[in-house]
């Protein structure tokens, strides 16, 4: 099991946060294009930072606890997946916080923030179609 140590913790993160989408009603996985674009834009600098850290010897990865699939011979596959999984967790958490907050207090601060972000149901009738028609 040891080579799966890194991969397993990422799977655990996805498993723990999945109900935020499918029980609480966050809409992250159901916006795959926006998600992909967000990851590409927001995580590129962090992946570069990670590569710099590896190159400068700030950190390295234990071959014992990783699968051994090193991308470009430098970054373990799991490390790249880290920059996919953790932002997904953050987005799911944020949306769940806004939605739960708005449910608890429909006129409260979180409800306003949800609406401002277009995360409240009242603000989201088919945004892309609407944008095209407008």
């Amino acid at each position: 099991m040891e080579p799966f140590h890194y991969l397993l913790v990422l799977v655990a993160c996805l498993a723990v946060t999945a109900p935020l989408e499918w029980v609480i009603g966050a809409r992250v996985y159901r916006r795959p294009r926006r998600l992909a674009l967000t990851l590409a834009i927001a995580m590129t600098p962090f992946v570069i930072w990670d590569l710099v850290g590896i190159a400068r010897g700030h950190w390295d990865f234990s071959p014992r606890y990783t699968l051994g699939l090193d991308l470009g011979g430098v970054m373990p596959l799991e490390e790249l997946l880290f920059f996919v999984v953790i932002p997904i967790c953050a987005l799911l958490t944020h949306q769940a916080v806004l939605r739960l907050g708005a449910r608890l207090r429909p006129h409260g601060r979180l409800a306003r923030e949800a609406q401002h972000l277009g995360e409240a149901p009242a603000t989201r009738p088919r945004c892309e179609e609407g944008a095209r028609r407008a």
């Binding site: 009603g25 967000t38 927001a42 950190w59 606890y65 987005l91 944020h94 277009g118 009738p125």
Partner: protein, 127 residues
């Protein structure tokens, strides 16, 4: 200053200025962001600990390149700055993209979307 420490400080300053001044998403002024960050940091303790704990480290840090301060399960304290920057950057980009796709609609009157019963937050004025 050790390089990882320096890069962490720079990243935090950069992301904060993007949020407040350049992109003006102003997530730092929202309750939702701080609640999200708190939850993410709490979960970062065991997750990062799993990666960094010295008796079975997956990611091995060179002591010369960070402050040397390890917290909880041997995580370099800089990791929490890295986490802060990652969370804020992610939510910031998502917010910009959301505004872009809903922006054209902002001025139009809104009606409750009948098609989304499952997410019933219910921001109904005078409902």
């Amino acid at each position: 200053m050790p390089e990882y420490t320096l890069l962490t400080v720079l990243a935090v300053v950069l992301v904060v200025s993007l949020d407040l001044v350049v992109v003006r998403t102003r997530l730092l002024a929202t309750l939702g962001f701080w609640l999200t960050l708190t939850i993410m940091w709490v979960f970062q303790i065991p997750v990062d600990g799993w990666l960094t704990r010295l008796d079975a480290a997956i990611v091995r840090y060179d002591e010369r390149h960070f402050s040397g301060v390890r917290v909880f399960f041997d995580s370099p304290i800089e990791d929490f700055g890295f986490g802060f920057a990652m969370v804020l950057a992610t939510l910031m980009v998502w917010t910009v993209l959301s505004r872009r796709s809903t922006g054209a609609e902002q001025r139009r009157p809104r009606r409750a979307a009948a098609g989304e019963p499952s997410s019933g937050i219910g921001v109904h004025r005078g409902g």
